[in-house]
């Protein structure tokens, strides 16, 4: 059994160079997203999607000294490289009706492209909005956690290319310890708004790609309470049973009554 691996993405070290995006696209042979300006800040990618598996978020603030830029009239910056969270309890994996989405021996969540049939149920089952269906191809795609590279003992492309070790790759539990240590250090150095994002207390049960951000993680589009959608299913089937019962009994009674 291989060790469960993880990413620790540390936005306090990220310089927004997009090396991870480029490395990911090149290694995984992903198509271009189109050269469109989003008009949001300097981030022209917007979000992770079927052809973007790493996405550097540019979180801009009004000028504040010590928060990115040091001049009072230059915007303050934090960057954070977003990626599939590889949830401990993955909504996409549970929802996939073909068994295309599997858990790898490294604990990652992997979409097998030869089995995916493009039903796009995983798209609405992901609490982080990561998986997306490629409209031209019809199938769904997302970060593979560089399953191919990990298989032969290599570091995922994004972590390998990261020049500041903002993206750390390693064993899950060790990285969690390292994250705690890093957070302590940041707090001690006066960066009191540094936050560790790993929603372990929700039904997602923690993620394998966790983040250190500055301030409220919501600024980074990280939901405070992500839930795996299977938690709703039981209530749904209960309601379905009531509906089916009403339908069957009602019809039977109507026809029995209609006989006279």
């Amino acid at each position: 059994m291989s060790a469960t691996t993880a990413f620790l993405t540390d936005s306090t070290l990220c310089i927004g160079c997009k090396a991870c995006e480029v490395a990911c696209k090149e290694w995984n042979d992903l198509g271009e997203d189109g050269l469109n300006w989003t008009g949001f800040s300097y981030d022209n990618t917007g979000a992770v999607g079927h052809s973007t598996w790493r996405h550097v978020k540019f979180v801009e603030h009004p000028p504040e000294i010590g928060h990115g830029g040091n001049s009072p009239d230059v915007a303050s910056w934090t960057f954070s490289s977003d990626v599939c969270k590889h949830c401990e309890n993955a909504g996409c994996l549970e929802a996939c009706p073909t068994g295309s989405i599997v858990r790898t021996e490294f604990g990652g969540v992997y979409v097998q492209p030869d089995i995916c049939n493009g039903c796009s149920y995983c798209v609405v089952a992901c609490p982080f909005g990561v998986v997306q269906r490629n409209k031209d191809d019809g199938r769904a795609f997302k970060c593979t956690f560089c399953y191919d590279r990990q298989k032969v003992g290599l570091t995922p492309a994004c972590a390998h290319a990261c020049p500041t070790e903002s993206i750390k790759f390693g064993e899950l539990h060790e990285l969690r310890v390292e994250a705690a240590r890093r957070l302590e250090k940041l707090h001690a150095e006066g960066m009191e708004d540094a936050t560790f994002y790993d929603p372990r207390e929700t039904s997602v049960g923690g993620i394998h790609a966790f983040f250190i951000t500055r301030g409220d993680p919501r600024q980074y589009n990280l939901p405070p309470q992500p839930e795996i959608p299977t938690i709703y299913a039981e209530r749904g089937w209960k309601s379905a049973a009531i509906g089916a019962g009403v339908l069957a009994v009602g019809t039977l009674l109507a026809f029995l009554g209609g006989r006279q």
Binding site: F40, G118, D216
Partner: protein, 382 residues
């Protein structure tokens, strides 16, 4: 002018956005600029504001975190067809068991079979490559409503079709064996039909889309009643306006839909905006009126009238119910889209207390905030 005729500079990577739509958008922007003197849009820096702000109130520039559903137009129609056919299968079987008139049984079996053949066709068409449907049958996952649903459809289709074929073969002189075969196939169709009428509610409810999972407790029942109303109406329009059993079922289903509509209108949930406001809200509400109070009133009126007048009222009610059922499904799917686009919901940013909806308030707040931040920075610099 089609997109392909445009120079590459004007091509947009999203094929859903047609050239005409983008041109219309330009006109709308121009009108807004003329009317208000400034134009606000997600992604555009508001006039007078120095920089966009990512904040606890605006999330990540208001970019939606969740992905919108990516089903094509076939899916809401499938929900409607499958629901109606599922209910019709139950009607056909109980009608036959209780010895209702043969014509009614025949027509109910026809409605069931048409729906049973259309349903997988619509599903396969959504996938793009038809053979990909078979990938669904390589595993069974009880935790995935999609997987459960695929097996319900796959069992419903053949049994409903078989029931209709035998039913048709029996037309000239019926043998007891054929009747048993029809009854057995029909029983299978009725059992899976109960699933057909309800599982789609679980399917959309057990997702990360806020407006769907918030209503998981009632969506399957809601869809079952909607399917029943549509099934009854489809059969009645084939000349069974006077069937007492069908009329009772029609009244019950539209009464149930009326109650459901009232409940949805009265509830105040964070994500319920999607089924009340905007285009998705309009469609859902219109669907609600057409499947609830309107057919209920028409059907009750039909009870107190006679002959052709009564029949016409029932026909009108049936048409309303069918349209209402279709619109209900389309409305709920659309609501899922607008709910996914609302960045505030998954980030738990209050939707009602937040004044962000008014662009001016948003702008003012952003300005105040940036000012105080800047001032603080100057203070520290000094």
């Amino acid at each position: 002018m089609t997109d392909s005729a445009l120079p590459s500079r004007l091509q947009v990577s999203d094929p859903d956005i047609s050239f005409q739509r983008r041109e219309r958008r330009l006109e709308a922007i121009r009108t807004e600029a003329l009317r208000t003197g400034r134009v606000e849009a997600i992604g555009a820096r508001p006039a007078g504001s120095p920089i966009p702000i990512a904040s606890v109130e605006t999330g990540y520039y208001g970019i939606p975190m969740l992905k919108e559903p990516q089903w094509s137009w076939e899916i809401p129609i499938y929900f409607f067809v499958g629901g109606a056919a599922g209910a019709a299968a139950v009607i056909a079987e109980f009608a036959q068991m209780t010895g209702a008139e043969t014509e009614l049984v025949n027509d109910a079996r026809t409605v069931t079979a048409i729906g049973a053949i259309l349903s997988p066709a619509l599903l396969v068409s959504d996938l793009g490559v038809p053979s990909r449907f078979l990938n669904m049958l390589r595993v069974f996952k009880v935790q995935s409503p999609m997987s459960v649903g695929v097996y319900i459809v796959s069992l419903f289709g053949p049994s409903a079709t078989a029931a209709k074929i035998v039913n048709w073969a029996r037309r000239n002189g019926s043998g007891p064996i054929l009747k048993i075969i029809e009854g057995t196939a029909g029983l299978f169709a009725a059992l899976t039909g109960l699933g057909m009428a309800t599982y789609t509610g679980v399917l959309i409810g057990a997702t990360a889309i806020p407006v769907w999972n918030e209503n998981i407790d009632t969506l399957p029942t809601h869809f079952a009643l909607s399917g029943l109303a549509a099934g009854v109406s489809a059969i009645q329009l084939m000349g069974h306006e006077e069937s007492r059993a069908l009329n009772v079922l029609g009244i019950a289903a539209s009464a149930g839909e009326t109650l459901e509509g009232m409940k949805l209108e009265m509830e105040k949930k964070p994500a319920s905006e999607a089924i009340k406001k905007g285009l998705s809200g309009t469609i859902t509400r219109l669907g609600g009126v057409l499947s609830g109070p309107l057919p209920l009133a028409l059907r009750l009126a039909a009870m107190f009238t006679k002959d052709s007048r009564s029949r016409n009222l029932v026909r009108a009610a049936s048409a309303a119910s069918l349209a209402g059922s279709l619109l209900t499904r389309m409305g709920w799917i659309r609501a899922g889209h607008s709910s996914a686009r609302d960045y505030r919901l998954p980030l738990q940013i209050p939707t009602e207390s937040s004044k962000l909806k008014a662009p001016q308030a948003q702008r003012m707040r952003a300005r105040q905030k940036s000012k105080s931040f800047a001032e603080r920075s100057y203070d520290r610099a000094l």
